[in-house]
Amino acid sequence: MRLVLVGMNHRSAPLAVRERFAVEDPAPALAKLVASPEIEEAVLFSTCNRVEVLVSTREAEAARVRLESFFARELCLGQLPAGTRLADCLYQLHDGPAVRHTFRVASSIDSLVIGEPQILGQLKDAWRAAVECGACGVILGRLMSRAFATAKRVRRETRIAERPVSVARVAVDLARQVFERFDDKRALLVGAGEMIELALEALRSEGLRGVRVANRTRARAEELAERFEAEAHGLDEIPELLCDSDVVLTCIGGDGPVLSRETMAAALHARRGRPVFVIDLGVPRNVDPAVNGLDDVYLFDLDDLSGVAEENAEERRRETIRAEAIVAEEQQNFAGWLSALQAVPTIRDLRTRAEAIRDAELERGLPRLGLDERQREGVAALARAIVNKVLHTPLSRLRREAEREEGVVYLEVARTLFGLDEEPDAAAGSDPSEIDADEGEGGDEGGGHGPVRG
């Protein structure tokens, strides 16, 4: 069984191309795919950064051609941008590289933002959709299950997802270094722009509740306050509001700082030493940098946050080395399982052949022995035990060797030695006396091939 993956992502295709291939409901597309004779199983994975189809097949080349035409004719919504060739945007991966790619995607190593957590959930949704429409069988089911396990290992054993990389999340992360909890803290927002909203949403996700919005235009402050169940204030109320604000977020236009060292020092005095975390997202800056010199005030401006975000992204990139090692190990394990799967037909054929010979010989020999029912059962049990014992070692070894790359040689040898690709009669020899004659004195040890003598 072969694996083929065809797809495009943020590196191989621009957004203008990727958006033409966005798939809302993968079920109809998957149904069409698995109806193709060359495709056994399929999973379709579509996010804003990638569209990929992974299939298992017995005819890799035919499946690849089918997937290319699937992208061009069935998945593409409308015309591609002028001068864009679909073939240049698609990548094709087979077998090991396809497995590795899937594991990397699940582990978020291949993501635009390395370590982002959403990708695993999206991949699980894709797998569920494939299972529900009957497009996912044993092989892709196992592959996806291993991909999820790999992703979990990567998260557990590396720091790939530990440090935040967006400015808003970095701000929250830094605030958590100052405050243990947010549900008993109060925040003051100076400004009412989009950046403030993003940072506020991140802080609210941590439990922050008491929010006041101060803005030059009171109407805009009231609008934001209404959305976040906050209070609206004017800029002139800032000194008073600061006294009971633990987190201060500023992002407002204007020439000079809206928060001076003196204002903050007065507020700190009133706060009796309780610390304040200040995030200044304004350009130019809204908070006098000298504020950071005050005890118990922790001020971070946009540059500071971006610096930490970049540092965190670099840390994540460094962690990908460890993550890649885990992916490689899991890929090898999966390849072993897949190879072992190739031994199944040979093992089944070998056992069937041996049992057929056993049954034929029992049928031919038992009537001549003149045994009663109990004795006949005893002889049949003896024959079954001999066949099982003779087969045990070669079958176990075949299973084990099949997990290795050169395992296919063992499978070929077994098929040739036991004539598994020939007709049963030709392989077993129609006249047992020929075997006896060939084996000479040692013929008795090969008695399994000949009739049971009385």
């Binding site: 243990e180 030493g273 610390p275 118990d296």
Partner: protein, 262 residues
Amino acid sequence: MLIALHQLAAALYLAAGVSGGMALASPGARARRASLVLLGVGALLHLSSFAFLHRAQPTPALTDLPAAASLMACLAMLAYLAFARRARWDALVVWVAPVGFLGAFVGALRLPHAVGADLFGSGSWPHAHVLLASAGLALLGVAGVAGLAFLRESSQLKHKRRVGARLPSLETLDRVNVVALAVGFPLLTLGVLTGMLWLEGSHGSPWSGSAHEIWTTFAWGIYGVLVLARFAARQSARNAALSAVGGFAFLLFAVIGVGIVA
């Protein structure tokens, strides 16, 4: 047995410190949990070693410096473990375990040479004094360690550097400081009072004028001022951390350093 248990406790504290350091450097909670377990087992062995104190020849009094330092370290570990049950305090193990190691190590090294107890038939006051004073010192030591961690983290944040995600927040460290001070100072006060009762019983006067008495009383007075500053004047968290570190350094000098200098 006293020495063997001290040695074993010291080894476990050291292992807890190493494991705590590894926990900061590696993902996953396993190393962190292991360090706490090691510290807990070490503290229990350390505590149980004092049950064998009376079997040592000569029997070292708890008033003996190595024994007192060792008991103080043991109680500090137990106090820390009680605090560590709260979220993210467990990361402090990397700071706390070396203190336990030093206490147990000094105990193991010096206890065989300890001077025998000379308690003048003063009843239970000497042991009550050492137990209460050691418990107070242990908690004030925890406050000092928390203060040191606070100052380090605060400085990193002031310099726009991210603090490790597994380290406690400044708020947590400040709370450790407050609780340790609130419980530690009354224990120290009781330790000073029982010391005076011990002196009264043995010498007929609560004040002998020894260097130890003068310095520890002075240290107690300083802590009294710090407690007032913290709870009455609402000292800032950073100043409180500085005070906790400075106060504990002075207290250590008063209790241990003065004896060494003398």
